[in-house]
Amino acid sequence: MIEAEKLTKYYGDRAAVQDLSFEVQKGEIVGLLGPNGAGKTTTMRMLTGYLPIDGGRAVVAGYDVVEKPMEVRRRLGYLPETVPLYTEMPVRAYLDFTAKIRGVPSKGRNRRIEEVMELCRIADVSEKVIGKLSRGYKQRVGLAQAIIHNPQVIILDEPTVGLDPRQIIEIRKVIRDLAGNHSMILSTHILPEVSALCDRVVIVNRGRVLVEDTLANLERQGSNAERLRLEVRGPRQEIQDFLSRWPDVVEVEIPTNTTTASIDSQGNLAPAVEQEDEAAEINSDGVSNARFNLKVTPSTDIREALASAIVQQGWGLREIGLVVPSLEEIFIRLITEDLARLEEEENEGAEDFEVLDDDELTSPVQVRAARDDDELDDPEGRVVDSEDELNSQDITRREGSTPLNARQRVYPVAKTPEQAKRKAAPSFLTASPKDRSSKPAAGDTQGAEDDQNSTASESERE
């Protein structure tokens, strides 16, 4: 029903969407997922024909968007991010107008309006002026205009943004009711929405498709690195030692759910983790309830063996289970990987790399990565002006076959040794340019990788 083929859109010389391809089958709900600024709205606007397409092709309901725009529009319902409402009109009059311009025949038009108002649960405000309605009602009126002409294809741009939880549930109900008869794309950056509504997910970042898959597949993929959740009643330290000795256990983590530090009765600042330990010990006489997260070697299931062993030790096994990674974790991992890939690409093509400017630093992960950089180097650090470009290219040539890490590449290289000293650069950068060229780049790469990992785990904890 919807085919996007290498869609491309430039804003100035920056590609907002590049070679983006995906498909939506009849009756399917596909979630277009991505951080802010990933190109979701731009993609949708190209599919609706609102934005001219700079490259590639879009076919909606069997018609090419560029060649047969009117045919496409007749078969398309669209709810833009800013709900297009004439606030001075009552709901019924507004829907009557949208029905007319969408070509709903006058015979049966009123019946259709009633139907849609019923479906979108706005019948009770049909005579009220739209400007006076609550946010949730407005959003549903917007949804009603998108489906008034019973289109084959429905495109919803962030249909639940700015709504309270109850309103979100209502809107989702409406969307679910629509499923089956219509092909639907909905964009969101709220992940539970995707689990709640979509058959398939297209994850985009930097205007490209990262993954296009079913939700179940994605989750299966993410659960390769197996983790166990464990709650045992008994002496914490002994249990921990026991678990670490278990052959298939790679790592024993103590989950820290309380992340806020607090001030105890003596007025001392109590760090969060300690506080939890204390609480665990207090709640039973001498014996604690200990919770652990175990990282085990992939594709092994040690649950039964571990359970019986714990029971044999005389401890109380309260809970044992697999930790299934949330969609959030999968999503953040994918975006982070993509960021790393971007850097690799830049390394390979040092001659024609893409300059990361502020506009592009839109995803939370990217922004955080940039901030990490800022902490590491001096204020000019992230600015890649033509001089720095030249410098970084020089380095690449000097180092010959050793590829430079992208992060390292954007560090400005001090022009003189004095400048190098003056700058408070991180340890692996304090060496003068000459030294750096003779040293193997392995250490640098390691450092950058650690940095990358910490970024990822930081995001995961959130």
């Binding site: 297009p84 409402l85 004439y86 606030t87 949208t98 311009i101 070509g103």
Partner: protein, 246 residues
């Protein structure tokens, strides 16, 4: 064409849902009434009804320009700002249908407003005046055409910006310039026959009014006004195409 009608309908609805249309109509009618009173005082016998109407229709055009400029500023700027333009341009409606619909709605409002000025005629006929219907009606035709040009330019100005204030300033300024181009150069009289002077005075809205209020509309004046309307509306359609997605 049906879509144009739907858009016209909605725009008229919007006009009368907001106080702007009422306020501006009231202002226009107040100025127009004052002008009428002035011409009436100069010719205090009802037999002079034709002189009075001729004077009135020849000079009320300027107020009509201001009136129309102000009521049209909202038309596209507002839709760009609130995002409803995205609704129109992703519906099976052509860009020109949107623009024409908005123009026609303004034109209907204009007709309605001018209809109120028939009151002057009714008054004079009631007191024994004998209006010469030819010049009277052609005077009204001239006013409608001037109003049409102002409406078309107002819509054009409105399509240039999301800010109504900016649209208003552009619309009114250009209308004033278009109006005074003529008097500025014609006042120099036939002595000034440089080509640019002739061209500028020809381009002026005001220099085409006369033939209408005299009762013998010149075809070239009608063509002039219609050309201006079509030109401005056409440019608006192009601007809409260019500004998509902003």
């Amino acid at each position: 064409m049906k879509n144009t009608y739907y858009i016209t309908q909605r725009e008229l609805y919007a006009y009368f849902a907001s106080p702007i249309a009422y306020i501006m109509m009231a202002f226009f009618l107040a100025f127009s009434g004052a002008l009428f009173a002035i011409f009436f005082n100069q010719n205090p016998t009802s037999a002079d009804v034709n002189t009075i109407m001729r004077g009135w229709s020849g000079s009320v055009g300027f107020f009509l320009l201001i009136f129309v400029s102000i009521i049209t500023i909202r038309l596209i700027a507002e839709e760009q700002r609130t995002g409803t333009m995205e609704l129109l341009l992703t519906s099976p409606v052509r860009d020109w249908e949107v623009v024409l619909g908005k123009f026609l709605a303004t034109f209907v409002l204009l007709l309605l407003t001018l209809a109120f000025t028939f009151f002057y005629l009714i008054l004079m006929v009631a007191f024994g005046g004998r209006p010469d219907w030819g010049p009277v009606l052609s005077g009204y035709l001239g006013l409608l055409l001037i109003g049409g040009v102002a409406a078309a330019f107002g819509i054009l100005a409105s399509s240039l910006t999301q800010s109504q204030a900016v649209a208003a300033v552009i619309g009114i300024l250009v209308c004033i310039i278009l109006w005074f181009l003529g008097p500025l150069f014609v006042s120099n009289g036939p002595t000034n026959s440089e080509w640019w002077s002739v061209a500028l005075s020809y381009a002026s809205l005001e220099s085409h009014v006369d033939s209408f209020s005299r009762g013998s509309p010149d075809l070239k004046d009608i063509v002039y006004y219609l050309t201006m309307i079509i030109l401005f509306l056409g440019v608006t359609v192009q601007i809409l195409k260019m500004r998509r997605g902003e």
